[in-house]
């Protein structure tokens, strides 16, 4: 564990603090203050990402520190899920934001690095960015799946919204966890597919092969396949086995965590993607 006594480190710690405060404030039934703190945390996370970008002079998605910094900007996904998908777990997102920023703050090395020739490609940003976005969605889906397994019933009366016609506040209905899991995975899966295909196309341009049987490639294929299995299983049985549906979703996110962390940090999986630590 290492504390970063730098402006970059300070911004990361401020974001974590704002997210944690937002979480506790929301849990203590002060949703407006919680939302304001969450928004503040997001603003600081954007500053941290922007500062890093200015500092390294390329899109900061090269190593695990930068990737986790990016993952910390969870607020828009959170808002999208709540407003558009009608999925709950808003306060859990604040906690997820704090959790994903913690390795950036305390574990990963923040030493700036110049891009090696292989990473100097127009595909670098879209490939990593769509993967990160999909990972955030899948993490949210997993939270819903865990809620489903735990038998937690999410209140159908969700957050307050302004009724546009009457001008009165009204409650928006939130989906039950099983459906919420499905809906979020439906949003995240195309991003996961795009990430895999962009990576494959990039591999062809950089390393001469669109598929190199590298450990990271195989784990990312495994995670894509687990969610593919989820869709097939859910198509076959619908909501008859909600617990198994949830287990598929949790297994998918487990393979994502392995793809993102274990493959890069462990010496077991040395390969073409080893530089991304």
């Amino acid at each position: 564990m290492e504390i970063k006594y730098t402006i970059q480190g300070l911004l990361v710690y401020m974001t974590i603090a704002a997210y944690l405060l937002a979480f506790f404030t929301t849990v203590l039934r002060r949703p407006k203050a919680g939302h304001a703190l969450y928004l503040l945390g997001f603003a600081i996370a954007v500053c941290a990402f922007g500062y890093r970008w200015y500092h390294v002079r390329h899109v900061p998605l090269q190593n695990l520190f930068e990737v986790f910094l990016c993952l910390g900007m969870i607020y828009p996904v959170s808002l999208f899920c709540r407003r558009v998908l009608r999925v709950g777990g808003y306060s859990a997102d604040m906690l997820i934001g704090a959790i994903v920023l913690s390795p950036a703050g305390f574990i990963f090395n923040a030493e700036p690095q110049q891009l090696p020739p292989a990473l100097q490609s127009w595909l670098f940003t879209p490939h990593v960015a769509v993967y990160m976005l999909s990972y955030i969605f899948m993490a949210k889906a997993t939270f819903q799946a865990i809620c489903q397994l735990a038998g937690k019933t999410v209140s159908c009366r969700g957050h307050l919204a302004r009724d546009s016609r009457a001008g009165r506040p009204r409650h928006l209905d939130l989906l039950p966890p099983e459906e919420a899991t499905y809906r979020i995975i439906c949003v995240g899966y195309p991003l996961l597919t795009l990430g895999l295909i962009l990576g494959s196309y990039w591999g062809k341009l950089a390393w001469s092969d669109y598929w190199g049987w590298d450990p990271k490639e195989l784990w990312s294929l495994a995670s894509w396949l687990v969610f593919l299995g989820y869709f097939h299983f859910r198509y076959m049985f619908g909501k008859k086995h909600p617990r198994i549906n949830s287990l598929w979703a949790i297994a998918g996110t487990a393979t994502i965590i392995i793809t993102l962390l274990w493959v890069n940090l462990s010496r077991i999986f040395s390969g073409l993607h080893s530089y991304a630590t």
Binding site: L115, C186, S208, L225, V226, H232, M236, T255
Partner: protein, 327 residues
């Protein structure tokens, strides 16, 4: 559907197993005859699925996804080693699947050493290397560290003196060498830049102590740990490579038919082959090594990628946007 789900689970297990055994063994595993049977079964099942399940034909997104997967599998198998062998047997197409070729600056070559068998084959055209060069990130820095761990980083600017601290004094880079050699003249060591082929990048550094005493040090990029016990500073000179560039010409007969500077991420495509910057002569920078890869099956795979992407995006996003979300 059960068979489909079973095949997906088998592929998940194989992918995870393949990740544990390493790249080379995983490639061998996924190209073995039982796996060829598996790939064929998967492709067949997808085709049967498209034909048998009406829903797959009626829902455009699902059709694109499944047909895209068929194309990816077919293109992959057609471009594989076994696919190339089959094309040779059936149609007499004797195409190099993958290999490497070394080309010296100013000369041309059409011999490719195959990656699989190490035998040599000829391309129907030649490649000439006009020039090979390596580019570095600028500015380059000299890193200075005291034995107590205090560090500085100064840009490599010849003739400029940089103050370090009151106790450490100043440092000046006197000369930058591309290929430093040491000779003897009248019993004394003489350092000079050798113009003949070779590479030994180094810096001549002058350290001035607070009392005014000066000393000269040579910092070698290729020998980063080089220092003496009495040295006050540990010096490190390291340039970060930003690009490798081979300036190539394609020659058919006596005519130059194409020209391109290839770099990492920017291969040359010609005559059914792709040429990639793979390696180089790290001793003297006299030659480049290119990876030569056949493009057989590649565009079928790309078509499959497009279909898969469009299908997934249509099925999971766009149709919902157009018709409102339904679960």
């Amino acid at each position: 559907m059960w068979v489909g789900l079973l095949l997906i689970i088998v592929l998940i297990v194989l992918s995870i197993y393949g990740a544990f055994i390493g790249t080379e063994r995983a490639e061998q595993l996924f190209n073995r005859p039982p796996l060829v049977v598996y790939w064929t079964a998967l492709a067949m099942l997808l085709i049967i699925g498209i034909a048998a399940f009406r829903r797959l034909l009626r829902v455009p997104g699902l059709l694109l996804i499944h047909a895209g997967c068929v194309l990816i599998l077919f293109g992959g198998m057609w471009g594989s080693r076994a696919g190339h062998n089959l094309q040779n047997r059936l149609f007499g197409i004797d195409k190099i699947r993958s290999g490497r070729m070394a080309i010296y600056e100013g000369s041309s070559n059409n011999h490719v050493t195959l990656n699989d068998t190490r035998e040599q084959k000829e391309l129907p055209f030649s490649l000439k290397l006009k020039d090979f060069r390596i580019e570095y990130y600028q500015p380059v820095y000299l890193r200075i560290q005291t034995r107590q761990g205090r560090q500085w980083k100064v840009p490599v600017e010849v003739g400029k003196e940089f103050p370090l601290s009151e106790e450490a004094g100043t440092i000046k880079i006197v000369k930058e060498y591309k290929n430093l050699k040491i000779g003897m003249e009248e019993g004394k060591s003489v350092f000079f830049d050798d113009p003949s082929p070779g590479s030994n990048p180094a810096l001549e550094v002058q350290i001035t102590e607070p009392g005014g005493q000066t000393s000269t040090r040579y910092v070698f990029e290729l020998f980063p740990g080089h220092s003496h016990g009495q040295d006050k500073f540990l010096l490190r000179y390291h340039r970060v490579i930003s690009d490798y560039i081979s300036e190539l010409q394609i020659i058919e007969g006596d005519k130059v038919v194409a020209e391109k500077d290839i770099e990492v991420n920017h291969p040359l495509r010609f005559g059914g082959y792709h040429f990639y910057q793979s390696s180089y002569d790290d001793k003297a920078g006299q030659y480049t090594i290119l990876q030569v890869v056949s493009d057989t099956g590649l565009y079928v795979v790309y078509a499959g990628y497009w279909m898969l992407c469009l299908g997934v995006i249509w099925h999971m996003w766009l149709r919902h946007i157009f018709s409102g979300f339904k679960t």
